[in-house]
Symmetry: C2
Subunit: 340 residues, 2 copies
């Protein structure tokens, strides 16, 4: 275990647009230019492998076989603190202004969810029961972390492949819980609230209804979920998984929904992997802030984007994306992908 750094990282707010960033100094004496990441070497040491528990930070939670001991073998899904956390629960909460600027200490939790005990790189190749346990672990961690009144919002995300930001190839996801609402979530909450107040309907319900009627962007439909490529996709093959029924907070998910979501996740990832030849990808779970009651206008959902094109700097700098693959073509390609 690393001892907490003496100096807490800072959360700082951009005064113009209200976007929070984490200033998390690393220990490099001189800044390094980004290197192109080679693919991970499958022969390299795997700290996430069953049996190597002593090489990781101590576990926070694990689904274990009866009789197995913490931080030893016998687990199926295991949660540990990130070794280089951007936020930490140990830091004291300090909020203060600096003239016109706002900042606070980066209190929070940054955890790694190791999705399987064996060395598997692709979540889609895990058994559906295994994926369901991962989805249930997400829920368990949110329920636990929500009890800390300093913490306001949770991001759960996956970086798959070196090009998508993963530093290890063993299938894993991450969780970052902090005292702020990330700007992309804040904008969704505001946009969805505006729509609801104006029309008295959930924008997610309207979107699902229109996508089902149009059919052209639908990838997969089950009883409780719709998978589709959104109308204004920023990235080629951007794919959303949205529950059909109202639910703003992921942590309120039921066993029954997890059953189905496990199947949906596996099939969606299989389609993307087969169609795009095992691309690097990311997904981010969007869920409502902890400190809100169930919201009628917002719905948790998963946004998935393969990294198949390079995003130029002007797109970052302006939020104005050029997408070379229409979502109708992407959905058609995914639907026609043979995954069995």
């Amino acid at each position: 275990m690393n001892a907490p750094d003496k100096q807490p990282h800072e959360l700082r707010k951009d005064p113009i647009v209200g976007r929070w960033v984490i200033i998390a100094p690393n220990r490099l004496s001189r800044p390094q230019t980004v290197q192109d990441c080679p693919d991970h070497d499958p022969g390299s040491f795997d700290p996430f492998l069953e049996g190597n528990e002593d090489t990781t930070t101590d576990e926070i939670l694990a689904y274990r076989d009866h009789g197995s001991a913490p931080n030893g073998p016998g687990w199926r899904v295991r949660v540990i603190p990130n070794k280089f956390p951007a936020v930490r629960v140990e830091w004291e909460q300090v909020k203060r202004g600096d003239g016109m600027y706002d900042k606070m200490s980066a209190v929070g939790a940054h955890e790694v969810i190791i999705e399987c005990p064996h060395r598997e790189t692709n979540m889609s190749r895990l058994s559906v029961e295994n994926i369901r346990e991962v989805l249930w672990v997400y829920r368990d961690r949110l329920v636990d972390l929500k009890r800390d009144p300093r913490l306001v919002h949770a991001l759960i995300f996956k970086n798959k492949g070196a090009l998508a930001g993963a530093s290890l190839d063993h299938s894993h996801s991450q969780l970052m819980v902090s005292p702020i609402v990330p700007i992309a979530i804040k904008e969704e909450l505001e946009g969805a609230d505006h729509y609801f107040r104006y029309r008295g309907r959930s924008i997610f319900d309207d979107m699902i209804q229109q996508e089902l009627a149009a059919e052209s962007r639908v990838v997969l439909e089950t009883e409780q979920f719709l998978v589709f490529c959104p109308f204004a996709s920023r990235f080629p093959f951007e794919t959303w998984i949205v529950p059909k029924h109202q639910s703003s907070h992921y942590e309120n998910i039921t066993r029954n929904m997890i059953e189905e979501l496990g199947t949906v996740m596996k099939r969606t990832l299989q389609m993307l992997e087969v169609a795009l030849d095992d691309p690097p990808y990311n997904f981010v779970l969007h869920t409502a802030p902890f400190d809100s009651q169930p919201l009628p206008h917002f719905r948790w959902h998963i946004e998935l984007f393969p990294r198949i094109n390079r995003v130029a700097g002007f797109e970052w700098g302006s939020g104005f994306y050029i997408n070379p693959v229409p979502p109708e073509d992407a959905a058609d390609f995914l639907r026609k992908t043979d995954i069995e």
Copy 2:
């Protein structure tokens, strides 16, 4: 010249957050996974070189030596249409709804500014007179394009280096003018307007005052410009160039300001290149929409970010950035960089 594609590209609006994207189908029959870009080969053919004018699209504007003919040698700065434009002036303007969704044809201009006739990869190595002419070309193109009532906003940007999205190494920048305001600009306009209405002061004035008092994030100060690393920098060494006096529209820039901005650009780029060992980088000029009068709350400025760390997918998906280099350290490092 390419004939306009039969099917106009589409601008589509995300119904939740209001972000416009350009859906610009390419001709690939099958999506390709991103390849790591090797550095450009300095021995490769350079279509932007003086003498190779017949290999590019026809010029829109060039600053030429007396007596030289269009599309031949004798120019100092040259503007041509992008060979693969995301938007086109030739397309008919069609705006329509699709159920709950909004879309329009991608009318606009997508141009390339070739910054010098010789093969130079780094803008900072151009003479200061040359840089001033580039900055004046930006102004000229905005003044011209503003006359088209269909066009609402201009982005001027540079992708330097393959990793930052450049496809050619000859120093160039780009311009994209379209009927929409990119979301990052819209958010700045709204945030700055809110601040002005609440406090009766420009947020840019307050920021400049505080940065000058604090000193720690200042990189360079001249009579009319302040260069600093912003308090809530998203990226290591993110650097902004902001005019000290109120001016919302870049196209209203004066000869006198261009004189000084040329010097400021050259020095800032030199510092970044020396400090970070010639990094890939991007800059984006943020300016007010064409259809507004001079705005007291908004100020045009240039945001510059070297690409020295890889941005993980969750950062894109959430807008929640982790920056490993505090802006105070970045500014200190830049100030101490010996550029002569």
